[in-house]
């Protein structure tokens, strides 16, 4: 048998990775609420969110999501370019 993982180890690894991903997502979500709250909500004379604040929050969330997607794409692009450059140099 080679140095790979047994089935049980593989399952354990998958479970741990999933747990970590969930944790990470909750972090991202919490920070998103934090940022959008800071940007959008300033008036504490009432207990309910105004229509303006609600709209601001919605737009904030959508903008953040779009930004994250674009950042991911851009990162991929840069990564691919770097890899291609390295392969060129190795020839």
């Amino acid at each position: 048998m080679d140095g790979g993982l047994t089935q049980a180890e593989s399952r354990e690894l998958d479970a741990r990775i999933q747990k970590r991903q969930v944790k990470e997502f909750m972090n991202v979500f919490g920070n998103l609420v934090d940022n959008c709250f800071t940007s959008c909500v300033d008036d504490f004379t009432s207990k309910a969110l105004s229509g303006r604040e609600n709209g601001c929050l919605s737009r904030c969330v959508l903008k953040s999501m779009t930004t994250q997607t674009r950042l991911g794409e851009r990162f991929g692009e840069l990564n691919a370019a770097m890899t291609a450059e390295m392969q060129q140099k190795m020839r």
Binding site: V22, K23, M26, N27, F29, G30, L32, V33, D34, C36, F37, T38, C40, V41, D42, F44, T45, S46, K47, A48, L49, E53, N54, L57, S58, V61, L62, M65
Partner: protein, 87 residues
């Protein structure tokens, strides 16, 4: 106990744990944000104005959490809808 009820018990346990962690993080964030927004000059006790502000802030933060949740889910569902129609 059959495997189905074991599975259900595990899922329930995981949900409880994740909700607890969720709640803990939420309270932490509320503390930070509302202290910053409502108590610009900390004295030795909270004035009634500061107390009112903190209460309102907490309500608003939770409402904001819900709004963000709703918007996020809507957008995700949109994406899934778009993907299932593309070939």
């Amino acid at each position: 106990m059959d495997s189905d009820s074991v599975k259900k018990a595990i899922i329930k346990q995981v949900l409880i744990e994740s909700n607890t962690a969720n709640a803990r993080q939420l309270i932490e964030k509320i503390n930070e944000n509302c202290f910053e927004k409502c108590i610009p000059k900390p004295g030795s006790s909270l004035s009634s104005g500061e107390k009112t502000c903190v209460t309102a802030c907490m309500e608003k933060y939770m409402a904001a959490w819900n709004q963000v949740n709703k918007t996020y889910l809507q957008r995700i569902q949109q994406e899934v809808g778009n993907n299932s129609f593309s070939t």
